[in-house]
Subunit: 201 residues, 2 copies
């Protein structure tokens, strides 16, 4: 007699065990450290992450499913503040700003994020199999940017322009310019700002 279903909707869904959440956090922290400290993301292996987190491989895969999902989870977590600032923060990033000032602010914020988390972004976009496109994450940013551009440009061009602008902040391009060519941060920001401005008068 299953009388005591405290929540009649959605399947039971117990709360996770304490050790599980601890291990999950440990794995995320370890992965962040390892990616940040590695020159190429693909030479930090899943075994490395497990070892660095003081956890067995089974645990790691149980918690995250596969390599790609681990990287995505980590990326989303780090991106959280920016996502929040865009969704409900003050201008020029937040929704109160006009499109004309929000678009450059958005792109600048994205560039800065990739500069600050180069290795992680590289790991995410370079995970071979799955291209950046097709992730909900990309769809989200593209839709936002497209909508903002729709009043500033001939409407037919907004969609492609959004793609093109996002392509200009791809992790491997940023890595190439900032990392290998050692372009100073402020110069990169200025270049991207100029490029953006050139597209919307």
């Amino acid at each position: 007699m299953p009388v005591s279903a405290p929540d009649p909707s959605v399947p039971p869904e117990r709360k996770p065990r304490k050790d599980a959440v601890r291990n999950r956090a440990a794995v995320l922290a370890a992965a962040d450290t390892l990616f940040t400290g590695s020159r190429r993301p693909e030479d930090v292996t899943m075994s490395d992450v497990a070892a660095a987190a003081g956890v067995g491989k089974g645990t790691l895969f149980r918690a995250f499913g596969d390599r790609t999902s681990l990287i995505r989870a980590l990326y989303q977590e780090r991106l959280g503040p920016l996502t929040a600032a865009v969704a409900e923060g003050p201008p020029p990033l937040g929704p109160a700003a006009t499109p004309a000032e929000r678009v450059p602010a958005l792109l600048d914020a994205l560039l800065c994020f990739k500069l600050d988390h180069r290795h992680l972004a590289l790991a995410l976009e370079g995970t071979g199999a799955d291209s950046p496109y097709g992730t909900e994450h990309y769809a989200h940013w593209h839709a936002l940017l497209r909508d903002l551009l729709t009043g500033l440009l001939p409407p037919a061009e907004a969609d492609f322009t959004a793609h093109a602008l996002l392509a200009a902040t791809r992790a491997d391009l940023v890595e190439h310019l900032a990392g290998e060519l050692a372009t100073p941060r402020e110069e990169l920001r200025a270049r991207l700002a100029a490029h953006t401005a050139r597209l919307l008068p």
Copy 2:
């Protein structure tokens, strides 16, 4: 008494064996077919290529060194005609054209090439380890485009703009738009042309 050195410069350098050149060609052909027919480039393995070419793995690796080099060789070969047209062909692609007409022509040609060789371009750019940037191939196109742009734009912006324009024709973006979203070829070309035009008045 080594009297008969027909060419006194550069080390002897015999001409390659007949079977070697035949096998090399067979491998390139097989690889092209396999990549073209596969949905994701990374699930055509080196063993697949060797088998399809009727050749042992040792032969394959002896001829090309490694996977990346094989893909690059194949890509360069297919790109040959375009390279030639740019280097010495008639306007608007060739050197006789003015920069203002050559830039859009170049980008359109590049886009068309990627549309026609999506799988191959995807294989090249998605080979995980090595980013597209840093290959001499990319350096070549970027330098050409940058030089053309220097005169049409404030000189400080030419370099970054060249990167941004090339980023708009990245293989995975093209695949996303033309493949998954099924954007018609002509529309894509129009979008890229409009985008290019917007950057240089």
